[in-house]
Point group: C5
Chain length 104, copies 5
């Protein structure tokens, strides 16, 4: 999995039938120090994440192991909203305190 910030949404009406009802989020990947890596990905939402939140996403076939993505043509899923993480004993992020801000 990787850490990422939800930065946007994608809308599509003409799509594979099984995708109906899925919400597509645009993610900006962040490294373990909460800096943007410059990479982005579009992921299905399995947890009700919103723009600005820091999340975990899973890729590949594992992205189909949630209730909403099962057997669908989806290769990335947001499966957890992050409360906090720490590196070498130091808290890098805490939801509510550091919402949506990335390190420069």
């Amino acid at each position: 999995m990787n850490l990422a910030k939800v930065v946007g949404t994608v809308v599509s009406s003409q799509k594979e039938d099984s995708l109906t009802g899925l919400k597509f989020l645009v993610l900006e990947l962040v490294d373990e120090r909460r800096k943007a890596t410059g990479a982005s990905v579009v992921a299905a939402d399995a947890v009700g994440a919103g723009v600005g939140e820091l999340v975990l996403y899973a890729a590949g076939s594992s992205a189909r192991q949630t209730r909403v993505t099962d057997k669908r043509p989806v290769d990335a899923v947001v499966m957890a909203i992050v409360d906090s993480w720490e590196i070498d004993g130091k808290e890098i992020y805490r939801k509510g305190r550091d919402d949506g801000e990335l390190s420069p």
Copy 2:
């Protein structure tokens, strides 16, 4: 998934039998700001996408989770034509208004 622009098509007559009838599209990947990343991929078409359209594609085993790609040796599929997307509340693309144009 990733955002991409359909830029071309590939034709092959000598191929694995199960691929008969599939249309292969050449995709130019774009980032969340609609800039070309320089990478390209060839994907099967599951939604009737045409050259110039902005699409979402899925890769890996998830690319086989559509009616036309099921059990076929295909590792990328266009499974949605994008109507619009927005980043940080700003609309980056709207079909009909920004057709096929990429950011410089």
Copy 3:
């Protein structure tokens, strides 16, 4: 999938039993303009491709979705020989006319 040129072959006698009879091709990847990307991969051959031909290959679990690679430890397969492709309405390659040549 990606476009590639077949540039060589690999021979191995000491291998997993299920690989007996498979032909391993060395592929040089090309981008959508028929330029070498500098990357290479070794793929099983499912279509009788020869050195010098432009092909499509599939990677990951999709590489096992052909008759010759089913249930084998193979993560890339040549599943189509390319006749031609075009980008933005311009033909970039046609078999017989541009055989094996790459753009400088």
Copy 4:
């Protein structure tokens, strides 16, 4: 698989139900000479690894082949704590002697 050092942990309360009870570790990847590569990944813990330990992790669908990750939306798992490794006959790392230190 790749070698990595466990550098932190991620906490999430709002997540896919099947993830309850899993521990998420932040890994810093190291190369075969024990130098940090600059890349990081978040992996589920299947072996009770702690911060500072050198581990092996597996990615993709293989990350679901442990007792704790089976059928869960998890694409990376720590499945072994490294005792030692050697390159060209020279021991690069031994647990207890080189704990947690990386090459400069």
Copy 5:
């Protein structure tokens, strides 16, 4: 698949139970001209490969398609020891003649 040179081994006593008995090899990847690419990977051994040998390895779910890796959390496997390979009709490597040496 990719070509690689076996350069070392990894030992782990504390690991997922299903991994017992597997040998982990450290691989240095080489390109089609037998130059090191700078990348490395750890792979399970399915063919009795030794340090110094040039091998083929498969990644992803395909790495589980050997007798010793079936249903195990392993994402890379050495499934063939290379006898020789040629590029554009020129032999780049022959076991016994070019053992273990890489191009500068």
